[in-house]
């Protein structure tokens, strides 16, 4: 047997209807009882209002956040000049990852921390659109 005949022969419609009813009844009852549970508990005793949003003081100050920056590994002026040359080639505003990439490729000493120092000293500043500007 196939099709609607098989469904009817095995009470498929009745099983489906009753089954759906039972599932919805069970979960609706659970939904209604849970919905009242917190109200009943609130009536039973003083509701615990110590909601867990107590203020915390940060344990470190902003000064601690400014962790000592590494010392520049090369003489300042010479380093600045080297990076300025690369930036001129890239044109402004430039891509900082590209600057880093070129600095690595041409073998400049410790390019990562050098670029960081240039950022900290605001010689390189972000333009707010994901690119950077040389300010010196």
């Amino acid at each position: 047997m196939y099709g609607l005949e098989n469904i009817s022969a095995h009470n498929g419609w009745a099983i489906t209807f009753v089954g759906v009813t039972i599932v919805f009844t069970g979960l609706t009852l659970l939904c209604l009882s849970i919905g009242q549970l917190h109200k009943i508990l609130g009536l039973w005793e003083n509701k615990d209002t110590s909601i867990t949003n107590q203020d915390r003081k940060t344990l470190t100050s902003n000064a601690a956040n400014a962790f000592p920056k590494p010392v520049m590994p090369v003489k300042d002026l010479e380093t600045i000049a080297q990076y300025k040359l690369i930036v001129e080639r890239l044109q402004q505003p430039f891509s900082l990852p590209k600057l880093l990439d070129i600095a690595v490729k041409i073998g400049l000493d410790r390019p990562h921390s050098t670029i960081n120092t240039l950022l900290v000293k605001k010689i390189i500043v972000p333009d707010g659109k994901g690119y950077f500007i040389w300010t010196l």
């Binding site: 962790f67 990562h112 994901g130 690119y131």
Partner: protein, 139 residues
Amino acid sequence: MPSGLELLKSIDMFSTFTQEELEKIAPLVNPMKVMEGEILAKKGYRARTFFIVIKGDFLLSFQNGKAITLHNKGDIMGWSTLVAPFEYRGTVIALTNGEVLTLQGQEFYLLLQSESALSSKIMNEINSIIASRTPYHEV
């Protein structure tokens, strides 16, 4: 080295979390030292680890050459661990030696199943950061 819990307490993002909540998160975070030049995440790779800066400076580079730099304690990286398609949107490079807290995406989702309110709190903190960085990695 301070424990995970002590480090969490010192981060602004977790300033509104209770001791109990921090104690639940602490086992999931691991402090990790990073070296200058180290790549923590690569664009397009499967995002499995989420990072919170403790100290150090980091470069996040996105497509089209765009980038941002992070210098402050509590800055986050690798949020794609928690958001589809679970691929890093940018490459993270350490500009200086530093330290980060790591959180594995898989463990975060287990936390989700067992502590949904806490997970909601974490995601609310991260959401605003996700929104601010979206313009950089969109084409």
